[in-house]
Amino acid sequence: MRNILKTRKGREEFFLKMYYESFPSVARYVSRRGGSMEDAKDVFQESLMIYYEQLVAGKKVHEHEGYLFGVARHLWYKRFREASSLPLVADESALSQVTDSEQDKADKPLHLLSFLQSAGEKCMEMLRSFYYDRLSMDEVAHRYGYRTTRSATVQKFKCLEKVRAQVKDKSLTYEDFTT
């Protein structure tokens, strides 16, 4: 499973399959609760991101549809709860991850790319492959054309140094980079 997620093409196939298998049940759920198709699409997109992050982190999931539906239902429930200003329920633990991720989306405008690309797109892609997509350093070396894992590792730290250099002050928050 993790191998297919390592290339863009593989991820595309995987996401397409997930849409076919799981989106109809999520859409039906959202529709029955008065949501629109756009709501269903948003919730599903976010669910796929969470699912992807779990998979590349090595989580074993035996049943895609049940997992995705569960995450989507939590996300929808959370939206509904916010929209209707209902008080928070006690069971926050199951929702915590979903909540964080949804919070990210709400808080962060999308001007990040232009800022970060000053570190160089190749650098950002390399860092993404290692830290976000969780490829091994051998795989990173191979993908970005380094002869040895060691030289790729040195480059990875150079890239990280560039990004770190842009973080000028410890009091800065993410929002400072995007406004």
């Binding site: 849409y19 859409a27 198709m37 990040l112 997509d133 990280l160 990004v163």
Partner: protein, 89 residues
């Protein structure tokens, strides 16, 4: 590897909590001696956060492209109709 990169690598291990006990002790000592160390750690953590945000945005783009294809391309017409029907009131 030059010194500054070695330091980044050490900080990475420290932040990820995978330093060996002796490395950890050394880092804690450095933090006592070098007052800029906490700030470096903080900046490095922010750098990881920025990389994560970048990764998420890129992934979101990929998912959006798939969704766009599903709702636009003729070959997915059957799927699309099935979804649209769910929202007919």
């Amino acid at each position: 590897m030059r010194t500054s990169l070695r330091e980044i690598r050490e900080l990475e291990r420290f932040i990820q909590g995978i330093s060996l006990p002796e490395e950890r002790l050394l880092m804690e000592a450095k933090m006592q001696l070098d007052t800029s160390m906490p700030q470096k750690i903080n900046r490095q953590k922010m750098a990881y956060q920025l990389v994560r945000d970048y990764g998420r945005e890129k992934l979101r783009e990929e998912i959006r492209n798939v969704e766009h294809e599903l709702f636009e391309a003729p070959r997915h017409q059957g799927f699309r109709k099935r979804i649209v029907n769910l929202f007919k009131r």
